[in-house]
Structures are given as C-alpha cells and as structure tokens.
Symmetry: C2
Subunit: 203 residues, 2 copies
DNA sequence: ATGTTGTATCACTATCTGGTGACGAATCAA
DNA sequence: TTGATTCGTCACCAGATAGTGATACAACAT
C-alpha cells in the first residue's frame, strides 16, 4: 500500500478527468470517482472537502480553455479587414475546442447544470472573450457594427456544434463529426464574418 | 378516490410537463413523476409500460416543435432576395423556440442524453429542417452558396442561446434573457443572412 | 522499542432510485 | 345481491447514492 498524500490527490484528480472524458458528467459522483481512482471515497472528503472542492481543484489543474495565443489572429498589415481577422479568430476557436474533448464535455455540462466547475469555467470564458473583444473593438472603423452580437452568435454556434458532435454525426445536413464537414462550417464562418463588414462598404 | 383511467393518464402526462418545466430533465424519474402527479408509480408501468413509453406518449401529446406555418416566410415578389427570406425564417425560428420553454428544456436534454423523447424530437426536427431547406434551395441563383452550412450555423447558434438563456442572463456581452438583447441578435441574423448573398453580387 | 502523527480502509447509516407482487376497493354486468 | 373486472394503494426488494465514525497500519522521531 502506497502512503503518499500528494500522489493520492493526483490519482483522484486524474480519475475525475478520465471519468469525465469516458462517461460524461452524469456518472460523476463521489463513489464513481473513488472507484475509478482505486481509492477510498473518504479521502475525497478529507483532501478536497467534498465534490465541490474537488471540482474546483480539478478546474485549476487543467487547461480547459485554449490560451489566447492559440486563437488570436494578428491582423496582417495588408489584409486589414476586421472581418477577416474576426473570422480567423472564430475558426481558431472552433479548432481549439474540437480537439479538447474534456472542454466539450464541460460545455455540455454548462448547459444543464450549475456547479463550482461550470461556474469557474463560465466566468473564465466570459473574461477571455471580453479581453479578446476589447482587443479588436477599437480596430473597427464601422461604429454601427455590433461586434458582440456577431461573435456571440458565432461562438454560440461553435459551442453548440462542438457539443453536439459528441453524439450526433449530422446536424442540418452537415457532417459535424468529420473534418470535411467542419471545413464547410469554417469557410462559412469566414465568409459571414467578412461579408458582414463588406456590405456597408459595398452599398 | 377517483377511479378514472383516462383522467389519471392525463394527470401523469401533465406531471411530466410540469416537472420538466420546473426542475428540468435531471429530476425526471418514475418516482418524481408519480409524486408530482399524486399517483402511485405502479400506474406508470401499467398505463405506459415504463418511462420510455411515457415519454413517447408525452411527445405525441404536446407540440414541441413549432409548425412550419409559424416559421415560414413567403418570399415577397419584390424583395426577392433569398438571404432576406432565410433571415426571416431563422428569426421566426428563434422567436418560436423562445416562447416554448418545454422545447428549450428538451433541446438541452438532447445535448447530453439519448432516449425515446429526444430521439423523437431530433428526428422530427431534422425532417422539419430538411423540408424547409428543400423549399428554399431551388430559389438560390448562386450555386456556390452553401445553404445547409449557413442554416446549420445559424440554427445551432439559436439553439444554443435559447438553451443557455434558461440559466444565464448574459452571453458574450449580449443579454440573452431579454427581448432587448434578442433584437440585437435578430438584426444580426438578418444582416448576416442578407450580406452572405449580397457579397458575391457586390464583387 | 515506543509513542505520536499522518495516511488509508472498513463498516455502517440514511436516503434515494427503479421495479414488482400482493392486496383493497370501486365499478359494472349478471 | 353476487361476482368478475378494473383501478388504485401498499409494502417490499435490490441497488445505488452521499456522508461519517471507528479502526488499521505505515512512517518517523524520541
């Protein structure tokens, strides 16, 4: 028998991730976690004070959300179109979320329950988007453009499709579980972002 | 004591709706439903054969999804822009979903579980969208336009925001729990749909 | 070697869940 | 009135959950 507190805590945190990735959050409970970690459940209470504490600890131990660097698109000097940059950021967001199954799982969780973990992630994400928006807002030379509404709509769509792709291969005749289908969506995201800013100029 | 089979079945079906609307699907179980209906749970097994049967019966007893008539926008002879029509359909969809809290609840359910109810709704919706798309596809004079991708993205966004608005007032700096915020989103939907078809013409 | 502290396990309670068999009582036909 | 059928209640089962008190055992300093 190994008697090492830190190592045991690590096993428990690891078990949360594994369980979350494999069975989803519906199966996530004290008993299941202890079982998965091969550890007595009483240790969860001792070391983390219960499920809420464990979840917050888990939230701090993992990189749920892509770092800004993974998503940010630096506006090229030449193609100075704001729409192009926004489109690229959104596409990067989609790619980043798609390769984080754990994040997708928690995004789904966020839709149906509120707890320590989802609250932390939600706040994190809101702050993240806020910063990002601030970065690009002053670039806009069109004051009538509703940047938050645009990105809200697009981000919402991306979230939904990422979550949904876990269990459904097709949405609205588009394959959301293949790279092929996502390329269609990505070009659509780019086109919409671009044309939104182009139209007023074209009128 | 009232002895009336049909009435009792009605009470049970009613309880499903109430429970779903009040506490969400996580609380939805045989015991909870029987409790809510003020009826012994054994009757659920007798009359509906269990939870699955009850859910399908419930699905058939309610109008989850807006009828096509509530959403369809007939293309005006003058404003023959496909983008405008699509935008209007999507806005109507958003409005229709927003005033159906039960549907929002089941859309959320669809994200995290598969069962008789969600399967029925999913199939219904997919067929519904298919018909709708078929209606408008041949109107398109731009063969390079990816109509499914456009509507998938928009519908996904609408679904997500409707679901999300149940528990979160703000998403991405946009108020998703007020008519005020949704007006912003609706104009954005209209603008995006319209400008997507305009841009190629404007080039 | 001894005792103290920290670490992990066991055993138990209370409560919830889905599911079922036996029984009580109202309704209707004879 | 009798009797069968329909409808509803009760009592229980097995399994799962969250949470807790007592206990075993390893490590380490004295």
């Amino acid at each position: 028998m190994v008697r090492n507190k830190e190592q045991t805590k690590g096993k428990i945190l690891l078990a949360v991730g594994q369980l979350l990735a494999r069975d989803g959050f519906t199966k996530l409970g004290i008993n299941a976690i202890a079982r998965e970690a091969g550890v007595d459940k009483v240790l969860i209470y001792r070391y983390f004070g219960g499920l809420p504490g464990l979840l917050t600890a888990f939230a701090e131990s993992t990189d749920f959300w892509p770092p800004a660097s993974e998503v940010v698109a630096t506006p090229e000097p030449n193609t100075d179109q704001l729409g192009t940059v926004i489109g690229e950021v959104l596409v990067n967001l989609a790619k980043a979320l798609r390769k984080r199954p754990l994040t997708a799982e928690i995004l789904a969780w966020e839709m149906v329950e509120q707890n320590e973990l989802t609250d932390i992630l939600a706040e994190l994400r809101e702050q993240w988007i806020l910063d990002l928006l601030e970065t690009y807002t002053f670039h806009s030379d069109q004051p009538q453009a509703d940047l938050p509404a645009l990105t809200a709509l697009m981000a919402a769509a991306i979230h939904y499709l990422v979550i949904r792709s876990r269990s459904t291969p097709v949405f609205n005749m588009v394959e959301i579980d293949t790279d092929r289908g996502w390329e269609r969506l990505e070009t659509m995201i780019r086109n919409l972002s671009k044309s939104y800013f182009l139209v007023s100029a074209c009128n």
